[in-house]
Symmetry: C2
Subunit: 244 residues, 2 copies
Amino acid sequence: MQLELSIDRSSRVPLYFQLAQQLEDAIRDGRLRPGDRIDTETELAQRLSLGRPTVRQAVQELVSKGLLVRRRGVGTQVVAAQFSRPIELTSLFDDLAAADHRPTSQVLGLRSVDADAGVALALSLPAGSTVTYLERLRLQSDEPLAIMRNWIPAGVADLDADSLASNGLYELFRRSGVHLRIADQRIGARAATRPEARLLGVKFGSPLLTMERTAFDDAGRAVEYAQHCYRADSYFFDTTLVCR
Amino acid sequence: MQLELSIDRSSRVPLYFQLAQQLEDAIRDGRLRPGDRIDTETELAQRLSLGRPTVRQAVQELVSKGLLVRRRGVGTQVVAAQFSRPIELTSLFDDLAAADHRPTSQVLGLRSVDADAGVALALSLPAGSTVTYLERLRLQSDEPLAIMRNWIPAGVADLDADSLASNGLYELFRRSGVHLRIADQRIGARAATRPEARLLGVKFGSPLLTMERTAFDDAGRAVEYAQHCYRADSYFFDTTLVCR
DNA sequence: AAGATCAATATGTCTTTACAAAGCCCGATG
DNA sequence: CATCGGGCTTTGTAAAGACATATTGATCTT
């Protein structure tokens, strides 16, 4: 493999994580190419003065990310061709900001409402509970991209229209000490209604990509139910699947 | 936690896997409910006469599936409320068969063609390479559900119309010794063309949910490029995301 | 020369042990 | 009474050792 690897034992970064990071970097920038075999776990362990379980843990990280493949009796190989970023639990705002697409939000509505049956079910709340309803239009490079409807149980986070215009919802969650952990998501498609078509600047009946999501925090508490719809001509969900 | 757990040491099923399975079952059928704390790793290990790393490995499996959350100094809790099955690297046929929806395939076309630029790029082949082109209509309970177009490089698998009518493509891959490992996928939406609308029994211009996928095998070889489109009124992609 | 067997190699599974760090509760102290 | 601090609990990280099992290739046998 002849790859420079170094472990800093004085660092507070876990050893297995240092190794995983360096291997991932090597794969991503091409020093390790698809099909290359990496050193055996025993060799790596000896070379870096680590225990084999530590090396295994590092390799396991990359296997579960789909970058490496292990085969017993054979060795561990680099598998990745090219890959897109997996669907992650980030907000659309964060995604677009990362891609430098000048995202902005226009808050169309922000008020307290009683949860209807569907919303209450999604958030596991008693029907009629008070929730904050939020409706936004997302713009990308001044073009309308998505309509985002969110329902947030009372007491989860302090929301105001000003902050929402320049920050993603998830950023405000983080500032309120809400740690998102897991989300159930359903992706589908449907035709645009008249008001939606007007907001998004498309024709009535145009195809929209839809996403419904319920997000849960650390404690398993439902903290957000969302219904988003995107212009089908400017948005996709990219993901990389790994077979287990 | 008072949950009946038993480990069969004579089984060839790994111990950590047995434990993970039993915990997952308990969560899925409600014996463990969201928010419940499971026994500490040390307790579990002692109770089942296992080593703590073995218990950890089992718990780790479920954490990475999003069923459990660990917090240092606190313990491990059940997090999932209700969840759908994550998007997995299985074929639509398998999905439907599992749900008992009587899937059948109608092979609309099966022939060798020269790969155009887009297909060649997706499969990392030289432009003009020979590939097998396959077009199918998927029916669910006798209702048209999806149009599936696939391009498979020559020599990957033996395909014939008869087998394809009653088996999923991925099943035929398995029989040819092709082990799928990873796939890049893009989900979007668009309007139905006239021929598509006719095949699917919807109106021209109706919204369709689309999925583009390139699948790779063990060795990192691209073995399939697919363009599927689904009736938006009868199909969704469900997924559970875990924040890392 | 072809097939079967065996040895070498690499990952897979499991145990025991040890210490570190984070969170929580409770008691001591100002 | 409030706050700080310490100790307990629990998960996080790491080591070294042992045996199991799949794969490959070389050797032996027929």
